[in-house]
Amino acid sequence: MGMFSLSAMLVAALIAIAIMSLFGDNALFMSGLLQGAWLTVQITLLGSLLAVIMATTAALFRLYGAPPLRWLAVTYVEFFRGTSALVQLFWLFFVLPLFGISMDPFSVGVLGLGLNIGAYGAEVVRGAVQGVHRGQWEATTALNMTRWQALKRIILPQAFVAMIPPWGNLFIELLKSTALVSLITMSDLTFRAKTINDTTMQTIPIFTLALLTYLVMSLTITIGMRWLERASLRGMVRGRGR
């Protein structure tokens, strides 16, 4: 979908929220939901940051690291992809304290979801790096660059462009899985919706507003990533292909 239709959808969702807020107690519900949404946004942003760092590190370890590092990276990816995100959160929140390490629920949320999405991201980064044409590596050798210089200046910047769309998906995935933190005592958007519903029983408007709020956040991510992709492709594909 084009940038225009995405933006139109975002505006439509915002208008729908605004119109709904004119009726009954909806404005009150909405302000409660927004407090939860703010927490959801914070966990999404910090979790995404952690995911990108973990993914890049794991991918580079796996591709270019010494055997122990490669092994470490494979273990990380397989472990976090192969087990349930919810159980990972429970484990960090309920089991880790039994070993004397306790974290506040916010840190657990960021850490758990960041590590989980980072494991998927590692494969995205690895694929994108391997997708850069071999001729680019050869050019860096002919120019006598070291492997690290080549990666940093030539290979990763090109891989970056290819990574943007799949990362967009992963960030949205992360946004949606933040709902899980409501199960480790955090008052995120989902938790708020549930508690407001428990006290008011206004099920239809409450959960509709919650859905629309999630939609606004995910559309923002999609539009942001589109914009980023466009900005980083500037010059690279205009006119003739490479």
């Binding site: 044409h133 001729g135 680019q136 050869e138 050019a139 860096t140 050798t141 002919a142 120019l143 006598n144 660059m145 070291t146 210089q149 200046r153 030539i154 910047p157 090109q158 462009v161 980083s232 010059g235 690279m236 594909v237 205009r238 006119g239 003739r240 292909g241 490479r242």
Partner: protein, 262 residues
């Protein structure tokens, strides 16, 4: 390594290259003198590209030694013994060699100017200003002084290849390798690239090895032509001799086929 000795600039000494069971180069011996221009011709699959790629250290060799500017490149002397070169040694010797590829291999995310300043800055440690001056001078030399800010995708094939030549020259190599640098180009764009190479030949004291299918250019430009056949130099000599009176039957066959195709 003093500059006064008259060692060859490049020397392949019994070099062998295999891909699995396939022997691509078989006990190759080849010397290229300082400033000499050598054209490499031969049928497809005869190992021409492989020769250049080994010299550029893009391929490992399976036997023999490659010497560059009087010292072994693929090996180094340690306690009087020849041992395979360590990366550091390889990097030092490699700094004398530049290469231009058939498909340009420009960095698509960088402008023409940045393509030419990247390695001088990161590898040689030149300050940006100096690297940009050098790059601008070279882009002018290849006739692209007005395209500094263009990305590769915004340039024609011939222009891209000229940027690639400037990029390689910005590292100030003593040896330049050209692998069929015009064969990915439309015929009308070959001339501008060959013109640049001609200029290089006359203006610089560069040693050049070029794989080419353009017999006319090889004849006019090269000091020596090597005809490769099945991983061996089948015949070599001055272009006038080799093109007009080839001694070897295979050379005769090859040249006849090429000339018919034109």
């Amino acid at each position: 390594m003093s500059a006064t000795t008259n060692h060859p600039m490049v020397r392949f000494e019994g070099v062998t290259k295999r891909y699995g069971a396939l022997t691509v180069l078989d006990d190759l011996n080849l010397e290229v003198g300082r400033g000499e221009k050598v054209a490499i011709i031969g049928p497809s699959g005869s190992g021409k590209t492989t020769v250049l790629r080994m010299l550029m250290t893009l391929e490992r060799i399976d036997g023999g030694v490659i010497w560059v500017d009087g010292e072994p490149m693929t090996h180094m002397q340690k306690n009087g013994q020849m041992v395979p070169a360590e990366p550091k040694h390889l990097r030092r010797v490699r700094s004398k060699i530049g290469m231009v590829f058939q498909h340009f291999n420009l960095f698509p995310h960088m402008t023409a100017l940045a393509n030419c300043t990247e390695a001088p800055m990161t590898v040689l440690g030149l300050p940006r200003r100096e690297a940009e001056e050098r790059a601008a001078e070279l882009l002018n030399m290849v006739g692209l002084g007005d395209k500094k800010g263009h990305y590769p995708a915004q340039l024609s094939g011939g222009q891209q290849q000229r940027v690639a030549i400037a990029r390689a020259l910005a590292m100030r190599p003593k040896i330049m390798l050209f692998d069929e640098v015009t064969s990915a180009l439309d015929p009308e764009l070959c001339g501008e690239v060959l013109q640049v190479i001609r200029k290089l030949g006359s203006e610089h004291d560069l040693t050049m090895l070029m794989v080419t299918h353009q017999m006319g250019f090889a004849k006019e430009f090269a000091d020596r032509v090597c005809f490769f056949y099945q991983g061996k130099i089948c015949e070599q000599g001055e272009p006038k001799e080799l093109f007009t009176a080839p001694k070897n039957e295979r050379t005769q066959q090859f040249l006849r086929a090429v000339l018919e195709a034109v």
